[in-house]
């Protein structure tokens, strides 16, 4: 029936795993079709039976921008590094919402697809991975609106905009890492479903989205503040698009990248450890 298959492709070995390998890339490659289709399904289903459809990917950050501009910008007069507040907050909100959506969707991906987990085999990591990828697609849909606002306010990017892919990668890596922890924990403890919104909210206030990070002047506090990988990401993203580039101290950049990496690796490891019992306890 499957003449084109190699024998290696067809041989399956089943035994208790002792598991020290973090990710089985070879196997993941074999399931790339599934990663693609799960991402595509997430995107396809997300805006089904909505009137505005994919426009929601743009409306959400813009609405939040309006709310922030009214309350933080106009009423509270939060300093925004000399940039018009709407533009300032939108440039922070876009990478932030990429992070937030990736984290939120990844965290619930396992429990939401429990019927698949209890009935079929596939590398479980496909689920959080494809929800992160779907969030990236949403981000790309929303990105042009920032360009529109930049044109309107007459701002142009500087040479550091070349670093944007790096910032986005760091965002996705951090969100995926935390998402791995939360999704696996969520299988065992549904408490996680209640914790995630708070974590996201607190994390947002700990990142320079509604305010400029210049507000934190105490050097010790500032050092701790900079350990949050999203601080570097949002500052870097915003300042490379809107005028003068405010680089982070190199030390903080290295630290926050290391922290993201640590979150990712520990997340992969924990996920791998728990994976084998997902079907039994979900």
């Amino acid at each position: 029936m499957e003449a084109e298959k190699t024998s290696e492709d067809l041989l399956v070995r089943i035994q208790p795993t002792s598991g020290w390998k973090i990710v089985d890339f070879k196997e993941l490659m074999r399931y790339k079709e599934l990663i693609f289709f799960m991402t595509w399904r997430d995107l396809k289903v997300r805006y089904k039976q909505t009137v505005l459809g994919v426009a929601w990917a743009i409306i959400q950050p813009v609405m939040t921008m309006v709310v922030f501009s009214v309350f933080f910008g106009n009423l509270a007069k939060v300093p925004s590094d000399g940039i018009p507040y709407p533009l300032f907050s939108l440039a922070g909100l876009l990478p932030w919402q990429l992070f937030e959506n990736s984290l939120r969707n990844a965290s619930r991906s396992l429990v939401a697809n429990r019927n698949m987990i209890t009935k079929i085999y596939f590398p479980r990591i496909v689920l959080p991975l494809s929800s992160v990828l779907a969030s990236v697609a949403d981000f790309l849909v929303a990105l042009p609106i920032l360009i529109v606002f930049m044109i309107y306010y007459q701002y142009s990017p500087n040479i550091y905009a070349l670093l944007i892919p790096y910032y986005l990668l760091l965002t996705v890596v951090t969100a995926f890492g935390v998402g791995l922890w939360f999704s696996a924990l969520n299988v065992l403890y549904r408490d996680i479903g209640y914790i995630v919104p708070f974590v996201i909210q607190i994390w947002m206030y700990l990142s320079p989205i509604a305010y400029g990070s210049g507000m934190i002047s105490n050097p010790t506090l500032r050092f701790i503040y900079n350990l949050n990988p999203m601080v570097g990401v949002i500052n870097g993203f915003r300042s490379s698009l809107l005028g003068e580039y405010v680089g982070m101290p190199i030390q903080s950049m290295v630290f926050s990248a290391l922290i993201s990496l640590l979150i990712l690796i520990s997340g992969l490891f924990y996920f791998r450890r728990m994976e084998r019992q997902f079907a039994d306890v979900i």
């Binding site: 029936m1 499957e2 024998s7 067809l10 041989l11 399956v12 070995r13 089943i14 035994q15 208790p16 795993t17 074999r30 399931y31 079709e33 599934l34 693609f36 289709f37 799960m38 399904r41 396809k44 289903v45 089904k48 039976q49 019927n115 698949m116 987990i117 209890t118 009935k119 079929i120 085999y121 596939f122 065992l188 403890y189 549904r190 408490d191 084998r276 019992q277 079907a279 039994d280 306890v281 979900i282």
Partner: protein, 180 residues
């Protein structure tokens, strides 16, 4: 090389029973336990008292082209065995080797999403079964014709939900090894 399609050696599966299965414990209890009794791991030690063996020492071979029926009462372990062979859950001990693609009817309609059309669901389920995009393309017409739902194949499945089992059953015929 043997021509066995399925080789099962001394497979055993131990489940936890009785009080405090992992998902009924709170996070706090577990945190406490982790510190006061570090050996107990996330959800307590497995002892003879709180566990039972759903399967123990199961061994058999199935040749290519051979059909094997497994009969047993409720709770005999038929589904557990099928779950292990389809890799949904891991055996506690023992090992097995399978040549061919595993398709289990446990999974009927699993990946179906009510908002997607029949055609979209075929692709999604094909991917879940491990089929390649091209492979599904080749078999698409065959699958649609065989399932006799040509008329609604481009309508969201939620509108003809009760028929989805039929369609996914058809899909499974492209799998080599069938269960249940």
């Amino acid at each position: 090389m043997t021509d066995y399609a399925v080789e099962v050696q001394n497979i055993g599966k131990r489940y936890r029973i009785g009080a405090a299965p992992a998902n009924y414990r709170t996070f706090r209890e577990t945190l406490n336990d982790t510190f006061t009794n570090p050996k107990s791991r996330l959800h307590g030690r497995m002892t003879d008292r709180n566990t039972f063996w759903a399967l123990k020492d199961v061994s058999f071979n199935v040749k290519q082209g051979q059909a094997l029926g497994i009969i047993g009462r409720n709770g005999a372990g038929k589904s557990t065995l099928l779950k292990i062979l389809s890799r949904v859950t891991e055996p506690t001990e023992g090992s097995a080797q399978i040549r061919g693609r595993i398709g289990s009817l446990l999974e009927v309609g699993t990946g179906f999403h009510p908002e997607l059309t029949g055609r979209e669901n075929i692709y999604l389920n094909g991917a879940i079964l491990g089929m390649k995009h091209g492979e599904i393309d080749k078999k698409l017409d065959e699958i649609i014709a065989f399932s006799e739902v040509e008329d609604f194949v481009d309508t969201p499945v939620k509108c003809w939900w009760s028929m989805r089992y039929w369609l996914s059953g058809t899909l499974n015929f492209s799998a080599n090894v069938l269960g249940k």
